[in-house]
């Protein structure tokens, strides 16, 4: 029996340049923390081997700090870390992996060559490292030619996407989906797909241990895999991720409906570890729209770790009352009327006019409040 942890796509050093510096630091740090989470899980489950199926680093040329952080964190744990170069951190002469190797960590094994290694006697690991960012050949094809004398278990480790036979043309870094069966593997540990995915009983994507983009709501996982010759592998996910990257699209009818959605969301999540990408749509009165945006800016934005709002589809249409309120104001009413006619004319000017009208409305109300 062999127990190991299958993980991938650590993407250490991912820059998150579009976020502000605080969040950027937190997200970067979380990726390093994932190593600790995996190391602790290994210790907890008495796992001696951690297989990392590619994209350990986000780029082939990370900062030294990134390498030192990664290596030093891995060194804290007793398990052996088997690192496979992926498309982000492909292997090449004088490249990244030589730098990692130079740190001299005894429990880190870099699989820069497609040469089988014995994890334990009779338990062979067949690595398919990537040597280029884009590889047109199936890197796992070499598994067929690898000698594993006296193998009781053959475990493949590769990085790439499962080949889609229906598509035409040449795709990059593709792996035939029945590789495990073809190459007589007991388990094929794959990386590249950032969510956990079971391709078949013996072929799995572990997903990234720390989610790094708005794609799915799930946090990051690693897979605890137990292998026994002749038996189907037992695979169970272990949560390693800290942050949740949520995407929400709300169609709101009014400010009250929006408030209810907000409350529902906040009840479900840990706000300080939540990044939310929110799309709002619907048609509301101008005053409701202003109230909604105010709630977002003044409340939700501060509760959550990060909030990105797309409210262009949330149309704030001035109600009759809104317009009547403005109309009694003479010149302001005239201006509102002009903007309305521009909005009705549509086009890019219409969009600007809509924002201008909203601003006018906001300022008018603020003026009234002041008065």
């Amino acid at each position: 029996m062999l127990r190991l942890i299958h993980t991938a796509d650590w993407q250490l050093g991912k820059p998150y340049g579009r976020f502000d510096s605080d969040l950027r630091a937190a997200l970067s740090e979380a990726r390093f923390d994932a190593i600790d989470a995996i190391g602790k899980a290994a210790a907890e489950h008495e796992v001696r081997h951690v297989l990392v199926a590619g994209d350990v680093f986000d780029t082939e040329g990370p900062e030294d700090r990134v390498i030192v952080q990664a290596v030093s964190r891995m060194q804290r744990y007793a398990c052996t870390w088997w690192l496979l170069p992926g498309n982000h951190d492909f292997a090449r002469n004088s490249g990244l992996w030589d730098r990692v190797r130079a740190k001299g960590a005894a429990n880190i094994r870099i699989l820069a060559e497609p040469v089988p290694c014995e994890l334990e006697p009779g338990q062979w690991l067949l690595p398919a490292p990537l040597t280029h960012r884009h590889n047109l050949d199936d890197s796992t094809a070499l598994f067929d030619t690898m000698e594993t004398p006296g193998a009781r278990l053959r475990i493949g480790l590769a990085h790439g996407s499962i080949r889609d036979f229906s598509s035409r043309g040449e795709a990059q870094n593709q792996i035939t989906p029945d590789r495990a069966q073809r190459s007589n593997l007991d388990y094929l540990a794959l990386g590249d797909w950032h969510g956990s995915l079971r391709v078949d009983a013996r072929t799995w994507y572990s997903g990234t241990p720390e989610t790094d983009r708005f794609q799915r709501d799930e946090p990051g996982y690693a897979l605890l895999v137990t292998l026994e010759a002749g038996a189907e592998p037992s695979v169970s996910p272990i949560r390693t991720g800290r942050f949740q990257w949520l995407m929400r699209s709300w169609t709101v009818a009014d400010a009250e409906g929006f408030a209810a959605e907000c409350d529902r969301l906040l009840a479900q999540v840990e706000p300080s570890a939540t990044l939310l990408q929110l799309s709002l749509s619907g048609i509301v009165s101008l005053s409701d729209r202003i109230a909604i945006l105010a709630r977002l800016d003044n409340d939700l934005r501060h509760r959550l770790r990060h909030l990105a709002v797309t409210a262009d589809d949330l149309v704030g249409r001035p109600s009759e009352q809104d317009l009547a309120d403005l109309r009694v104001e003479g010149m302001i009413g005239t201006a509102a009327g002009k903007l309305m006619s521009m909005i009705e004319a549509g086009g890019s000017d219409g969009a600007i006019a809509r924002r201008a009208l909203e601003r006018l409305f906001v300022e008018h109300q603020r003026g009234q409040d002041a008065a």
């Binding site: 340049g17 990134v66 730098r99 003479g330 302001i332 600007i352 003026g367």
Partner: protein
């Protein structure tokens, strides 16, 4: 409803110290025409004071009401109609200040009265020091003091507000000024964060743009650095691949194999080249040999031809001479005969003469004997002289004739010429050093120069050097010998050793001749003719006498007389015979000489030809002595055959040498060597490059360039998004502000419309086709004529004043419509107007006076006297 002033009473008010009452003012146009300093303006001031200046104020204005230098209480009473009701106001300033208003609601005093007045007239409490026309409401605008109308001024706030109600009612909309004023500044301040007043991006926009540009720059720099690193990686890969190829090339043995083969070929080629050289030398030698044989053959032919030619010439010369030989012999015969005859004739003559002489001597002997004594004496003297003379004569006798000398010289020249010819042809050799054992023509050689005139053999040991001077030399030598013989013969004939000696002898002889003449003269002197003794003058006669005397006996005189005459004839005949013989001899000699002269060149020719023939023969003989001559033709043929064979060999050798060209093979070997050398150099360079690239990658790779590039790229993307957001915000604010501005302008235009319409009614009359433009403050701002706008400030003073009056009139009309109590008072108006405009203005004012009370205060009698109700200040006082 117009405000109508009915009565004005003043006392202690400025120049009106005494009480003054003005009444008789009608509803329409009232004209007060008075000269300057009459108090027209004071009147207007008094009205303002009564209506608008608080009674209890002691401000500067109020104080100015008191007549100068007096502490009195200025007092004003005005009766007027407003809103159809009669009113009266009475005000006292400064001292016991008071106010009283009497109206339809009774009377009021103090503050109450002031408030009633303000409410009635739509004025505000004037808190200014010098009077604020804006606070005076409509009348502040319509009561126009002196020179106040010179500028087109906007109505004050009170007027605007008063008018606004009318306007709003008229245009059916609202200004909403208050809400606008709250919103607009905030929008403006937000706008100012994005745009300058002139609409250029500023502050936040520029910041976003700068940030965006900086981020883009940083991103592209990071990308460039990363690309450079990536380039380093791919360069490194490429370099390593090239190195591998080079190593494989260097390890390849086929080049070395080829080189070995080539080196083998090189030896073959070298020997072929050597063979070619040998063959060339061989062929050259054979060619030379053939040439030598051909030369010999040609020389032989030449010699043979010379032999035959000279033989022919010799026989020809002999032939031509043989004809002359007989002739020569005959001539010699004749000459000999002639000489013999001559000799005989001479002998005969000599005998005859001798006989004659003897006879004659004997004849004279007797006579001579007599005179012999004398003769003996003279003879003694003569003997001495003659001894001397004889010596001299001996000397003189040696003279040689000039012709002979010339002939001698000629011969000598001939000898010299011949010698020169010999010398020229001779070979000059010089022996030097040890000449022992060296023989020349068998004789031992001596050191020094030597001329060779004929073939000479010089031996040293067994070696023999044969020197052959030119062929012509022998002829020259013969000529020289002949000439020398001739010369020597001639010299011998005259007993001289040389021509020079002959000349010297002649010199001495000539001197002797001269002496002889002296001696002869002396001898002649002592040898006069002695007829008796038959001694003729002269020594010989004397000597002859003496000699006879000695021989004979002096005393003899008795000897027989000889036949002298016969003897003389015989002697004459002998002379004639001699002469004949001499003639014959001369002719014969002449003929002989002639023949000999013809013979001489032929002899020379013959000698030359003989010599030539000999030379040619000798030369031929010399040539023929050469051993190869015997088989010359065979030798030549053989030599040619050998040469041809050598040529074939040479061509073979050349072919062989071409087939194995040393240079080509060496070049090929050089190429192979060069290739290896270049490969090694490239390998070294590549290793250098690889080391450099590795160093660079090691240095740059650790800097996390890919991370940095990714960060920079994402930051740049964020900057783009931010810029878009900021730009959108800026555009939004710009649009909002522009919209607000245009709404305001539109509203203003809407509101200004009624004012403009009213004003245009009047202005049209003044300036046909002109369109007044009003500002937001309802002030007349511009006049548009013919599509061109003009600012009011740019118009002429007169026009400005007229427009100012007309706009006031328009406002007055509007206020009137609103029921405001208004009237128009113009103090000294239209001072700059021309006659036409003045007429037009008065017409407009007259027409306006049908709607409201108009009071004109003016000093210009002629301009206004024909108008309306004329009131005199002086008359009323």
């Amino acid at each position: 409803m117009s405000l109508r002033i009915r009565r004005i009473a003043l006392s202690n008010f400025r120049r009106y110290r005494d009480p003054f009452v003005l009444d008789g003012l009608t509803d329409g146009l009232n004209v007060i025409i008075e000269p300057n300093e009459t108090g027209k303006s004071t009147l207007l001031e008094a009205m303002r004071a009564a209506f608008f200046i608080r009674h209890n104020t002691a401000n500067r204005l109020a104080r100015s009401y008191a007549p100068y230098g007096e502490a009195v209480a200025p007092q004003i009473e005005i009766g007027f109609e407003a809103k159809g009701e009669a009113w009266e106001v009475s005000k006292r300033f400064l001292k016991s200040a008071s106010v009283e208003v009497r109206g339809p609601n009774g009377r009021a005093q103090g503050e109450d009265a002031e408030a009633q007045l303000q409410a009635l007239l739509g004025a505000r409490r004037d808190t200014s020091q010098g009077g604020d026309a804006a606070a005076h409401g409509a009348l502040g605008l319509l009561w126009v003091g002196q020179a106040q109308a010179l500028e087109v001024t906007a109505p004050g706030e009170i007027v605007r507000d008063s008018v606004r109600a009318t306007l709003e009612a008229e245009v059916g909309t609202i200004m909403g000024g208050a809400a606008y004023q709250r919103v607009r500044p905030r929008i403006d301040s937000q706008f100012a964060e994005y745009w300058t007043n002139s609409g250029r991006p500023t502050v936040r926009q520029t910041a976003a743009r700068d940030e965006h540009e900086a981020a883009q720059r940083a991103a592209s720099e990071a990308a460039a650095r990363l690309a450079a690193l990536e380039q380093g990686f791919s360069d490194l890969e490429a370099a390593r691949a090239r190195l591998k190829v080079l190593d494989r090339d260097l390890a390849d043995t086929s080049d070395a194999e080829q080189r070995r083969t080539l080196v083998g070929k090189l030896d073959v080629a070298r020997s072929a080249a050597q063979l070619l050289d040998t063959r060339r030398a061989e062929q050259g030698r054979l060619v030379d040999r053939v040439r030598a044989f051909e030369d010999l053959a040609s020389r032989l032919a030449t010699a043979r031809k010379a032999v035959s030619d000279t033989a022919a010439a010799l026989s020809k010369a002999r032939d031509s001479r043989s004809g002359l030989v007989g002739e020569l012999a005959a001539a010699q015969e004749r000459a000999t005969t002639a000489r013999e005859l001559l000799i005989r004739a001479r002998d005969t003559r000599r005998a005859a003469h001798t006989t004659l002489d003897a006879a004659r001597m004997r004849a004279a002997e007797r006579e001579r004997w007599a005179a012999s004594g004398e003769a003996r004496r003279r003879y003694a003297e003569l003997v001495a002289l003659e001894a001397e003379y004889e010596a001299t004569r001996q000397l003189a006798m040696t003279v040689i004739p000039t012709t002979v000398i010339k002939a001698l010289e000629e011969r000598e020249r001939t000898v010299d010429k011949a010698r020169a010819a010999v010398d020229a042809g001779a070979t000059r050799i010089e022996f030097a050093g040890d000449v022992g054992g060296l023989t020349i023509d068998g004789a031992a050689a001596e050191r020094g120069d030597r001329m060779l005139f004929r073939e000479t053999r010089i031996r040293l040991g067994d070696a023999e050097l044969i020197i052959r001077p030119p062929v012509g030399l022998q002829g020259a030598e013969t000529t020289l010998a002949n000439a020398t013989d001739d010369l020597n013969a001639a010299l011998a004939e005259y007993g001289v050793e040389s021509v020079a000696a002959a000349r010297a002898r002649n010199e001495a002889a000539r001197d002797a001749v001269a002496n002889l003449r002296t001696l002869e003269a002396r001898i002649a002197g002592i040898t006069p003719a002695v007829t008796l003794l038959d001694i003729e003058a002269g020594a010989s006669a004397l000597k002859l006498f003496i000699a006879g005397l000695q021989e004979g006996a002096e005393g003899e005189g008795n000897c027989e007389e000889p036949d002298v005459e016969t003897l003389t004839i015989a002697s004459g005949e002998a002379d004639t015979a001699l002469a004949k013989a001499e003639g014959v001899d001369a002719v014969a000699s002449e003929q002989l000489r002639e023949v000999e002269a013809r013979n001489a060149p032929l002899m020379v020719q013959e000698a030359g030809a003989e010599r030539d023939a000999l030379n040619a023969a000798a030369q031929l003989a010399t040539l023929e002595t050469k051993p190869e001559v015997a088989s010359l033709e065979d030798a030549l043929r053989d030599a040619r055959q050998q040469e041809a064979a050598a040529l074939v060999n040479l061509q073979d050798a050349e072919r062989a040498a071409t087939a194995h060209d040393v240079v080509t093979i060496e070049r090929q070997i050089g190429l192979l060597d060069k290739r290896v050398e270049v490969a090694r150099a490239q390998r070294t360079d590549l290793e250098k490059v690889i080391a450099g690239l590795e160093a660079r990658i090691e240095a740059e790779g650790g800097k996390g360039l890919a991370d940095r590039a990714a960060v920079a790229r994402e930051e740049a993307d964020a900057a783009v998004a931010n810029l878009a957001r900021v730009t959108q915000e800026a555009e939004t604010l710009k649009l909002l502000r522009d919209t607000l501005e245009s709404a305001r302008a539109e509203t203003s235009r809407t509101f200004v419309g009624p004012v403009a319409r009213r004003a245009r009614r009047h202005i049209e009359r003044l300036l046909p086709g002109a369109d007044p433009g009003f500002g937001d403050d309802l002030g007349l701002a511009s006049i548009a004529r013919g599509g061109l706008g003009e600012s009011c400030g740019d118009l002429s003073r007169g026009t400005q004043e007229q427009l100012a009056v007309l706009t006031r009139l328009a406002f007055a009309d509007m206020l009137l419509e609103q029921g405001m109590p208004v009237s128009l008072i113009l103090d000294d108006p239209l001072v700059y107007s021309d006659d036409t405009r003045l007429d037009l203005m008065t017409e407009i004012l007259t027409e306006a006076a049908t709607r409201m009370q108009v009071i004109l205060l003016t000093c210009r009698d002629r301009a206004f006297r024909h108008l309306g109700n004329r009131i005199s200040l002086t008359g009323g006082r």
